[in-house]
Subunit: 409 residues, 2 copies
């Protein structure tokens, strides 16, 4: 039986949009791994009445409640008070924690503001959770058969204190949830759903989800039996064929890096509209110096000729934004940077059209030991999005070429 | 009187931690700007019973409810059904929306899967919200005097559909909050707080917040009187001097672009550890072709010599990761790409040390018409973070040099 959890993240900065709630996603992933399913995750401001409502609901929703934030020393840190109120108990000052706080400040040679001592308050019946990297200890408390943990808000401290909580929950949870994901490219979400809907029978108890973003669609199966879930993902990948480029936590740049490394090949880039993002993607993996040579970011048109070797007459006749120029950029990158493969990328990122071509026009080319390949496409969105989608499309073009070359060689 | 709002973000991927809920923070910020205060923000999975509970609570909590996600064409997209159930009404298929969907697929030349048509379903009494960038329209519905909007989950589509909703809410909200932000670099949060604490008297009713992240500290004043808030920000910027590099929505790359454009100057880059991210930042602004020439991404050591002109003996003696190499890269970029300014960036992104230098070691240089400047620093974090902080530090170094050169020339 899977345990259920509710997450309550505390802080005005979350509601005002100043801070993105990355703690909630980190907790969701970590809790799922130890067999605890997050069924509700809420954000609430530094307001005692709103927090009381949020804690009451969380205790209704799930067997485990994880609260983050509001354990600091300042006047807007009220999580201790709210938790004690939810449990209907008083706060008492823990002398051991008082001593720890005094020692901590003494060790750093700072005078200790008096407010800091409220961090030593613990609800009656609860116990502190040691914080190895900060001054705010966590709290553990049982309320009417439910388990409540309160943890500090800074991600680094949360993660340090959470280690012992995850161990405790892993021991309590009889089962765990397993997730398998298949990453696809080149198909829209409806088309992917149609392929899966027609070819994969999803049994009771397994959840199927489609996650679209950044030019890729992910197909995710979640269930309690890892063998079942993995088999479903295998079947989905088989049906999706060359559109399925990776699994689980893999990124597209990681797959490209691995495929290049497997054959001792390298890649170089000559890119225009992406301004360096394609090079950045190919150098993101640790160890990418084995597969990535470099990139010529030839943003100014004259540099396409002088640096990347695109012939001047070709630039003049076909234009900087053309399939021909993309092809010449790929060849130039490959030759001038001494790589097995060259990628060329040119296009119109916007916000205005260029050389009479609309925003989103993208020309990509890959030059390698086999045939060169050129792809012209039109991607949606604003400037940032056009650039990001161009990177995905370029990586995917190289990936497909690597697969073809493996067959040919 | 400020309107209150509750945000409900729908999707298993949010609870499982696959997707960070950036929509909630974006909505929090945008709603605050039009005078709507988010008082609760929740995430819920693709589960009809859980969604019913979340919607009921949201309608209790606030005058406006904004739901995002679950409007797609697949079987796990159930927001339409949940909203109709919460309102106690049926869904009816809207013939105009059916036609729009058919036209949309026809325009792209794709066959339309039958499931897509459920995106044309609208609760009785509700109305669709036009989606200019995707196939899922939003919904608008009044439930017992509360206003409910359902919007698509992909951030790009959410933001496009939300524009009209924000206009409507701005008109309804009698008051609005005004926010003025000063961006700083080169000082930690405590140092910034000390400068502000000693020199700026913050009146009752104005909130002051410090937001640190990505190598910058932001100082934010929020209040109902824009004149007051703006004066406070002006005073803060004055006290912070050269550390204050921008205001409100400005990005550092935007300030650099503007400063370059103001003097008809251009910049070129030779970068190693950032792999192209520095070029990407300098080409992010629309119109950056007027100020950005290009970048030599010399990831492989031999390219630092052959492409960027770093002298071989210098590379051999000082090493690829050195202040001397950063200086030579800056000069090489400036000369070989024909720019007014050249930036050189080299360092250790990790995960392992290089040439005996620890992860986070960064050497930057700017070469221009005045004196060249070199800066060596150590930045915290993992590979991704080291690369991002390097970009911020490099842009800031160029910005400061531009300010100095303006004084000199």
């Amino acid at each position: 039986m899977t345990l259920t959890a509710a997450v309550v993240a505390v802080g005005d900065e979350l509601l005002l949009g100043d801070t993105v709630n990355t703690n909630a996603s980190w907790l969701g992933g970590e809790l799922a791994r130890v067999g605890v399913q997050v069924v509700a995750s809420v954000m609430v401001g530094d307001d005692l009445a709103r927090m009381a409502v949020a804690l009451r609901r969380a205790l209704e929703d799930a067997e485990v409640v994880v609260v983050t934030g509001g354990l600091g020393p300042t006047s807007d840190d009220i999580t201790r008070e709210a938790v004690a109120a939810a449990a209907g108990v008083e706060l008492v000052r823990d002398p051991d924690l008082v001593q720890e706080l005094k020692d901590r400040f003494a060790a750093y040679g700072y005078p200790m503001p008096a407010d800091v001592l409220k961090q030593a308050d613990v609800p009656v019946g609860g116990s502190p959770l040691h914080n190895p990297v900060g001054s705010a200890p966590g709290l553990r408390l049982e309320i009417a058969g439910r388990l409540l943990y309160a943890l500090p808000g800074p991600p680094y401290e949360l993660q340090a204190v959470m280690a012992v909580v995850l161990d405790e929950l892993r021991a309590r949870s009889a089962s765990s949830l397993h997730t398998r994901t298949v990453h696809t490219s080149g198909l829209g979400e409806p088309a992917v759903a149609e392929v899966i809907g027609q070819g994969v029978a999803v049994p009771e108890g397994v959840a199927l989800a489609y996650l679209a973003g950044g030019g890729v669609v992910r197909v995710r199966f979640t269930g309690s039996d890892d063998t079942v879930v993995r088999r479903l993902a295998d079947r989905a990948a088989e049906l999706l064929g060359e559109h399925a480029w990776g699994r689980d936590d893999e990124r597209l740049d990681e797959v490209v890096h691995r495929e290049l490394a497997a054959r001792g090949a390298t890649v170089a880039v000559a890119e225009s509209l992406t301004g360096g993002l394609l090079g950045a993607a190919l150098s993101r993996m640790p160890g990418s110096s084995a597969t990535f040579r470099g990139s010529l970011v030839v943003y100014a048109t004259d540099l396409k000729e002088s640096l990347a070797g695109v012939p001047g007459p070709l630039l003049a006749s076909a234009g900087a934004v053309s399939a021909e120029t993309a092809g010449a950029l790929a060849i130039g990158a490959r030759e001038r940077l001494g790589a097995t493969y060259g990628i060329g990328a040119t296009g119109v990122a916007g916000p205005t059209e260029q050389e009479g071509q609309p925003v989103g026009t993208v020309h990509l080319a890959v030059s390698g030991p086999g045939d060169a390949v050129v792809r012209s496409l039109r991607v949606p969105g604003d400037r940032d999005r056009v650039r990001l989608l161009t990177v995905s499309a370029a990586l995917d073009l190289l990936r497909k070429q690597l697969v073809l070359d493996r067959v040919v060689l």
